[in-house]
């Protein structure tokens, strides 16, 4: 899922300072699951804003990233001077596209695509490189999980299973080594991995998929 984190209240108040009537809009998808921008969080933020003198109201839609879920807000939106979106960056932009006449401000920082490890802990798993090769590494992605996205083995800073860059994170290559060893597939790691094609990644250009088979 997409994992996000609410922006500090100070930053939200600063961006909302030109406005008084504000709609705080939650999203029912990923950010609800990661407890950052669902209906509950929208109500909390709206209450905080009211304490700070705003005429704030909370609402939520099933998915802010899809236009059809935003259209029913057509009647509601004009009553406000601004919308504080608690969706990810995709939701914020879709909302701006559907309602170009109203300022839409991001209330979250979109952090990464990741998974929950425990209650209140999430970790990145995928950078959406566009060409998945995770099977070559025992199902552990070095592109997303190694700080240097190394494809040919650990750097010289791996110690006690930890990454030299952030010692509270696992060294992806220690995990890969342990997994491949347990699977009896260590020799596969001795094969040189060629330079990765970053064309399908975000370094290519803005990405777009057109599927003629399902297109209408």
């Amino acid at each position: 899922m997409i994992v996000g984190e609410r922006k500090p209240l100070r930053e939200i108040l600063e961006s909302l300072s030109p406005y008084r009537e504000v709609l705080v809009l939650g999203c029912g998808a990923c950010v609800t699951v990661c407890l950052a921008g669902g209906e509950k969080e929208a109500r909390e933020v709206a209450a905080l804003l009211r304490l700070k003198g705003f005429a704030a109201e909370a609402a939520s839609v099933e998915r802010q990233c899809e236009r059809e879920f935003l259209v029913p807000l057509r009647e509601k939106i004009p009553a406000f001077q601004a919308v504080l979106s608690l969706a990810c960056g995709v939701g914020v932009q879709t909302l701006s596209e559907v309602f170009p006449g109203i300022p839409v401000l991001p209330g979250l920082n979109t952090s990464f695509m990741g998974a929950p490890l425990a209650q209140g802990v999430w970790e990145e798993r995928c950078i959406g490189c566009g060409e998945c090769i995770v099977h070559r590494f025992g199902g552990i992605c070095p592109v997303a999980r190694c700080a240097k996205n190394l494809l040919n083995g650990p750097c010289g800073g791996s110690k006690n299973g930890r990454c030299e860059v952030r010692p509270d994170r696992d060294c992806a290559w220690q995990l890969i080594y342990d997994r491949m060893k347990a699977l009896g597939r260590l020799e596969e790691l001795f094969v040189i991995q060629p330079p990765k094609n970053w064309g399908p990644s975000r370094f290519g250009a803005q990405r777009k998929i057109v599927r003629e088979d399902v297109r209408r």
Partner: protein, 308 residues
């Protein structure tokens, strides 16, 4: 052929050192460091913004080193340049007569002095070696297009025998050799036992017959310097006995030199170790004393006599 390659192929036990470029345009600081070690080393590594701290470029520093009468080893990391820029700089350096290259992945930028910078890591050190080898041996770029002219280069890589997972280190080295590494400069050796075990594995795979291994040496200047390295430098293993000796020493600098000289003597006795790489960072002036005390002076072709 570079002097470094020639000596290694002749079987001479080589000595290389490291010079870190200044944080500014003071070329004299490089010339001065070179003057201190000239005649005592066979080649000098020029670091490429090591520890991700901005310094005078490796490329420019290599030219200054050559003007100062020493043979440079140009270090290139994959942190700041993609395959386009790395190939371009490689060609530029070759065209200007630089012949030794050390291919590294590079220290992560978040540990340096511009932690907000965006990293590149388009390719890793193994892939970089492969690309340079192909340019030299097959006359083609990474994309297969033809390179004009003949490229001469002696390719090296780094390796840390002390990092985890320990059992994988030798295989990673084997990948570097397969990709194109002709020489290896290791992380500083303090733990001789661990290093010897690594070398045993190297010999078991017969890698020492395919690649020249130069063992890293860092002379310790003080107990503080030791503790800094032990605690702050990733991948550095310093056994307790070294710390004890430095702690009890009346003159820590002298003790640091003694440890370095003893380590070099022990390394020379290990089959497959073909030289030492002395990284006396910010203490380049000590290199001559260590080389002399190790019986490695004079250097061949530099004042007569074989330093073997």
């Amino acid at each position: 052929m570079s002097v470094l390659q020639e000596l290694l192929e002749q079987g001479v036990f080589v000595v290389t050192a490291e010079v870190g470029p200044p944080k500014g345009v003071d070329r004299e600081s490089i010339v001065k460091k070179c003057a201190q070690i000239r005649g005592f080393v066979d080649a000098v590594n020029i670091t490429d913004n090591q520890t991700a701290i901005v310094r005078l470029s490796s490329f420019a520093s290599c030219l200054i080193v050559r003007e100062a009468g020493l043979e440079p080893v140009m270090q290139l990391t994959c942190r700041d340049r993609n395959r386009i820029a790395l190939q371009s700089d490689f060609l530029g350096a070759c065209a200007l007569g630089i012949e030794n290259f050390l291919c590294l992945t590079g220290d992560h930028q978040s540990l340096g002095n511009h932690p907000e910078a965006r990293s590149v890591f388009d390719i890793d050190s193994v892939q970089l070696l492969g690309i340079f080898r192909k340019i030299r041996d097959e006359g083609v770029f990474a994309n297969g297009e033809k390179v004009k002219g003949e490229v001469r280069a002696f390719l090296g890589a780094g390796e840390n025998p002390f990092a985890d997972p320990l059992e994988f280190r030798v295989f990673r080295l084997a990948k570097k050799v397969e990709a194109g590494a002709q020489f290896i400069q290791t992380q500083a050796v303090f733990d001789l036992e661990l290093f010897s075990r690594w070398m045993e594995e190297i010999r078991r795979l017969k890698l020492h017959e395919k690649v020249h291994i130069l063992a890293g040496i860092i002379p310790l200047k003080s107990l503080q310097a030791l503790r800094y390295m032990k605690n702050e430098v990733p991948g550095m293993v310093i056994p307790a006995w070294v710390e004890e000796r430095m702690q009890n020493a009346r003159d820590p600098k002298e003790e640091g030199v003694r440890i370095a000289v003893e380590t070099i003597a022990a390394l020379r006795a290990i089959e497959g170790v073909r030289g030492v790489h002395i990284m006396a960072v910010a203490w380049e002036s000590i290199v001559p004393e260590i080389v002399r005390a190790s019986g490695l002076f004079p250097r061949p072709g530099q004042g007569g006599g074989e330093g073997v």
